[in-house]
Point group: C2
Chain length 431, copies 2
Amino acid sequence: VEAGERLRLIETLDHLHPADIADLLEQIDVSQRERLIELWGKDLNPEVLSELEEGARDLVLATLTPDQLSSAVQELETDDVVYLVEDMDEPQQEILLDALDDADRVAVEQSLTYDEYSAGRMMQREMVTAPEHWTVGDIIDFMRASDDLPEQFYDIIIVDPALKPVGEVRLGKVMAHPRTVKLSTLMEDEFRTIPVNQSQEDVAYAFNQYHMIQAPVVDEHGRLVGTITIDDAMDVLEDEAEEDMRLLAGVGDEEISDSTWAIAKRRFPWLLVNLLTAVIASIVISLFADTLEAVVALAILMPIVASMGGNAATQTLTVAVRAIATRDLTASNMMRVVRRELVAGTLNGVAFAIIIAIIGMVWFGIPMLGVVLAIAMVGNLAVAGLAGILIPIALDKAGADPALASGTFVTTVTDVVGFMLFLGLASALLL
Amino acid sequence: VEAGERLRLIETLDHLHPADIADLLEQIDVSQRERLIELWGKDLNPEVLSELEEGARDLVLATLTPDQLSSAVQELETDDVVYLVEDMDEPQQEILLDALDDADRVAVEQSLTYDEYSAGRMMQREMVTAPEHWTVGDIIDFMRASDDLPEQFYDIIIVDPALKPVGEVRLGKVMAHPRTVKLSTLMEDEFRTIPVNQSQEDVAYAFNQYHMIQAPVVDEHGRLVGTITIDDAMDVLEDEAEEDMRLLAGVGDEEISDSTWAIAKRRFPWLLVNLLTAVIASIVISLFADTLEAVVALAILMPIVASMGGNAATQTLTVAVRAIATRDLTASNMMRVVRRELVAGTLNGVAFAIIIAIIGMVWFGIPMLGVVLAIAMVGNLAVAGLAGILIPIALDKAGADPALASGTFVTTVTDVVGFMLFLGLASALLL
């Protein structure tokens, strides 16, 4: 991008959606990113900021002047400003907050007092409310007179004199009725409020489960403090599924725009954990060094037993983690699901025992080797089923994220059990 | 649940949201499920049907009489009916379709002509449209006069005389302006239509990326045929993330409500694939049988090399699969990301080479064993990085789902390379 092409660039970017510009900024490399932002400068669309991932966003913020920053944030809704401000350090926060007008500043500061990952952080302050006695005509007149309506809203929240929400009316319903109809007669049957301290995960679950579009957020006294719309819930829902997937694979919160160093560093700890667990498996094997020396076929077949156990455990684990996340695995069906996993693991264990026994016998011509392989396979797949379901359940009960039970830990169990069974039986039956 | 308690049961269920009832039905076991549905019978809320997973739904449908079924479907929106009907066999479909009134029947049959997993299947027919010359007053009068407005809609779709959508107006905006204002002056700047044949995945991506709430669906001539709302997109978005996770773990489309037999059968094919790939790794090991017999330490340490490679590959793979799904990995940054994975893999390879070399030397007292381990570790982690990124990219280019590159395949590559390097070097340097 040459300096002379600035105008053409701005024209091109103007046609793109802020989310696409953010993606573009994330995909080009760091030096190109700096050049682009310098060129773009004051014409930066503030909405791009709230679309950017954290790493790329810090870089963009650093290249903006305080003036550019202030004018940018004034155009954003309060929930987007909170999203920007929460990851900043104090002096940067101050600059941004100072740029806001008083009402917005108070709103943002108030939001920041709620826990990160809580409904209080997700909600926006901008909403449309009406007292119970208002009619369709009243709210239409109110909205026509108002010059600061929120950009996104789908419901009118009906509140009582103590500012407690008592119901919500869909905009479509308001418009479908004559001016004299009372709003309170048009309220939805289903009405759910969200406590301001509820976790983002629970909020997203509720939106998804009950097909909600917008919901009022209330403080501990039941008073209305904000509102959450479905697009915020959708972001969280996707994040949660992705987080489970990353945890299962032992990857942290990395982004495709991160540098080589950053990703190498982030993956190191998990690989270190894996090294330690792999060493445990090796120690188990070393107990049977004499047996291995006597029958080298054992060393050759050993990885098959481990691999089958690991895979079967990962299958169960993945299903269990998702079922816990989507609340499909609860106290009422837990025993049934655990029993099912154990039996299903054993069934597949028997099927593969027959296959592997034949492979073992034909390949090495030692019938007893087939028997050892078969028994180890049944035992290992049964344990895989149990470990795959019990470990995430236990983590969940202990208040940890069940996805932490990732491959590495569950696989250690199946490795240890698999090697023990296989080499132990071999010692007893083959020597 | 006793027969006499029927009334109490119905009362309890009446207070639950259909989605919660569906979850309850999925969580109890099959015989309880049958009893409950028999008891509940004609009072069944039709919306429960569209919340159920396929397996549980078939069971519920089977216990309902044709009369119950017909009255149930008449209350549903067309997209929910399509969702129910698409998995049924012909005679059952007929019964359901006959229960609909003519207009709905045509709409449902039309939807069924579109590809499964396409926008045409997701969309609903119920929507509110207005010609370009209408004013705020016109649409309000139209809506007040209409007695069949859709349950969920957030935008008025503005169409030209050829029924092509030209823009959309948010309900909030309509209400905020006087009756004389023309709707065409209130249209959103951003306006995206969805082709009826677009894949569900692409539709969900667009909703998420552009924070859309509702979008018109158009046929190949650009004419309006339906509309998709954000709650439908949210369902798909979650399904897609979950599908990636399941594919990566080698689990099919199973549900927590499936029977033991069903899950054992569904997991078998993937375990069989894994067995074949594990046998390939074993064949590689068998090439070095003499070396293993001579140095039993190799058999003991072998799983560590394989395990580290497998884990590093899974990390890269997971990030790559998600990045492809969210369109963050594109042609423009592909080379950079591939290079990054290779370098990051090598960096961690060097770090762990040092650690593992020390472990190898101290444990077995053979300095050269440390050297062999170190070289194998660097090579294996570098290959893990490459395989983890290149295999999903290749699958994507070939038009397959990149998540198919699951653990099993990528791990085979790292196993084979790891064993080759480790045992090959050992043969050369230790014997």
